[in-house]
């Protein structure tokens, strides 16, 4: 669904959130649930059992017709040729300067039929960008008629398999399929934004409340709880997944953000390729690092980071990690100022707090490498 200026929009599940007593917040032009029973509790439920998110604010843009694949390749940094029917990839829309317009997932339904799932706040901008390059390819914003639920956590597979009467163990990560749940069609994608196993389920807006109810009912025995944007943020931060407007913007490149593996220079030409190739050759002047505070305090967006007494960058996302029991942060640091240093300081409201550099992600679920 996409937002326009003015009053914040409501998803088809707004009524469910209100009756569950959710605290609401505005995000990307939408009125969204921040939390239902507490961010920590919701976070832990996703890590240990399962959580259900309404992410219907996300936008969906369909691209179809002859030349659809070529268009997608020209607009994105990843290798579209690696997608077969039913495949999904995380990818990036860049401008000519290599700046990030949006980070998105790209779905290939058929050879000439794709769709993008895009960030709510960028949906109108993305649509205009894609349409302006489309030529004869049909580009359609299907956000308004599409709702998106995300079911995440170790029990997600069991819950959704029961609700959809399908054995979803056979669906690998970054693959999707179409199915029927109680007579209406859904698109089930094994993707997410939490660092856990899980699914994102696209459904026609009018069916979203029925799907929500069905999943909540089926999930009861598995400890499924509704989860708001508060825990969505702490979960994605632990998994070091970037958030547009924080780690990504038109003034950052995917290489600075450490997204090199989603930039395929060998995939053919794409907008921004020349600038990114040049940056790859000359090196990034700043890079995204992971920090764990070793002193008391919580690092948050915008806080200054100091290396050997001089400001070397700032925190783009920071907060409390329920899993680590410490404050964690992503920060852009000047590569020259950082050097080989592994200890930095973050200016928190209580003073300077020491932090150490750690490899990302902060959290990786067990057994992940064994998954297909």
């Amino acid at each position: 669904m996409t937002a326009e200026a003015g009053e914040p929009k409501r998803t088809p599940l707004f009524g469910r959130h209100v009756s569950l007593g959710a605290k609401m917040t505005e995000f990307g032009g939408w009125q969204m649930p921040l939390s239902y029973r507490g961010i920590l509790e919701e976070h832990r439920s996703v890590r240990t059992k399962a959580g259900l998110f309404d992410v219907s604010h996300m936008g969906e843009i369909a691209v179809r017709g002859p030349g659809a694949g070529e268009l997608c390749q020209r607009l994105t940094t990843n290798d579209v040729a690696r997608l077969s029917d039913g495949g999904v990839q995380y990818t990036i829309l860049c401008d000519e300067n290599g700046g990030v317009i949006d980070d998105v997932t790209l779905y290939r339904r058929f050879e000439e039929e794709y769709f993008f799932c895009v960030n709510a706040a960028n949906a109108a901008k993305d649509f205009a960008w894609i349409a302006s390059h489309a030529g004869a390819v049909v580009v359609e914003d299907v956000s308004a008629e599409t709702a998106l639920l995300s079911l995440q956590g170790p029990a997600a597979e069991a819950v959704l398999s029961r609700a959809a009467l399908l054995d979803l163990a056979a669906l690998p990560r970054f693959r999707f399929l179409c199915a029927d749940i109680e007579g209406y069609s859904v698109t089930i994608s094994r993707t997410g934004y939490t660092g856990e196993d899980g699914f994102e389920i696209f459904v026609e807006s009018s069916r979203a409340p029925a799907l929500w109810d069905r999943l909540m009912e089926e999930g009861q025995a598995f400890g499924l709880v509704p989860v708001g944007l508060g825990a969505r943020d702490t979960l994605r931060l632990e998994a070091a997944l970037p958030l547009y407007g924080h780690e990504l913007s038109s003034s950052t490149t995917p290489l600075e953000a450490g997204l090199d593996r989603f930039v395929r220079f060998d995939a053919g030409d794409f907008i921004g390729r020349a600038r990114l190739l040049e940056q790859k050759r000359t090196g990034c002047r700043r890079r995204l690092v992971g920090l764990v505070l070793v002193e008391r305090g919580v690092a948050r967006h915008g806080y200054a980071v100091v290396v050997r007494g001089a400001v070397a960058g700032e925190v783009t996302s920071g907060g409390w990690s329920p899993t680590l029991g410490r404050s964690i942060a992503l920060a852009y640091l000047d590569t020259a100022a950082l050097g080989e240093e592994e200890e930095v300081e973050v200016l928190v409201p209580q003073g300077w707090a020491k932090a150490k550099l750690v490899s990302l992600p902060f959290y990786r679920r067990e057994g992940r490498s064994r998954k297909p």
Partner: protein
């Protein structure tokens, strides 16, 4: 939403319990519920002299950092060090185990400007109505 009758309140959602010339201070049930899960509390130093409205403490929740202001002027005579290890006490028991500091009042006349439970309940109702 608990708002005990015997306490006094500020517009910034602190509560005060007075016994003789000493005030125990904390944040209200409404404040803790708005903050959400508290993960870290920075308490004032003992013997610090504070004026009403000075920063008394800071509370970090998962969502945000918030300042707690001294509801009255005075000297800090005790701090609740249990909150260092168990910040969740602020959520679980804001008026009892989650107290933050005790202060020796330097100007007891300030107490007259604090809100009663009924006045505070009205303020909370207004704030909720704006949401």
């Amino acid at each position: 939403m608990k708002i005990p009758d015997e306490l006094r309140y500020t517009e910034e959602h602190e509560w005060v319990r007075v016994a003789d010339d000493e005030a125990t201070v904390g944040i209200t049930d409404y404040a803790q519920s708005e903050l959400g899960d508290v993960v870290f509390v920075e308490l004032p130093k003992m013997d610090r002299e504070l004026k009403r409205g000075d920063q008394l403490a800071s509370v970090e929740s998962v969502k945000a950092v918030s300042e707690v202001y001294a509801p009255v002027s005075g000297r800090v005579t005790a701090v609740n060090t249990d909150l260092v290890e168990r910040p969740e006490l602020l959520n679980q028991s804001p008026y009892e185990e989650g107290w933050m500091a005790r202060m020796k009042l330097s100007d007891p006349s300030e107490l007259g400007s604090l809100m009663s439970a009924a006045q505070y309940a009205e303020l909370v109702a207004q704030e909720k109505g704006r949401k």
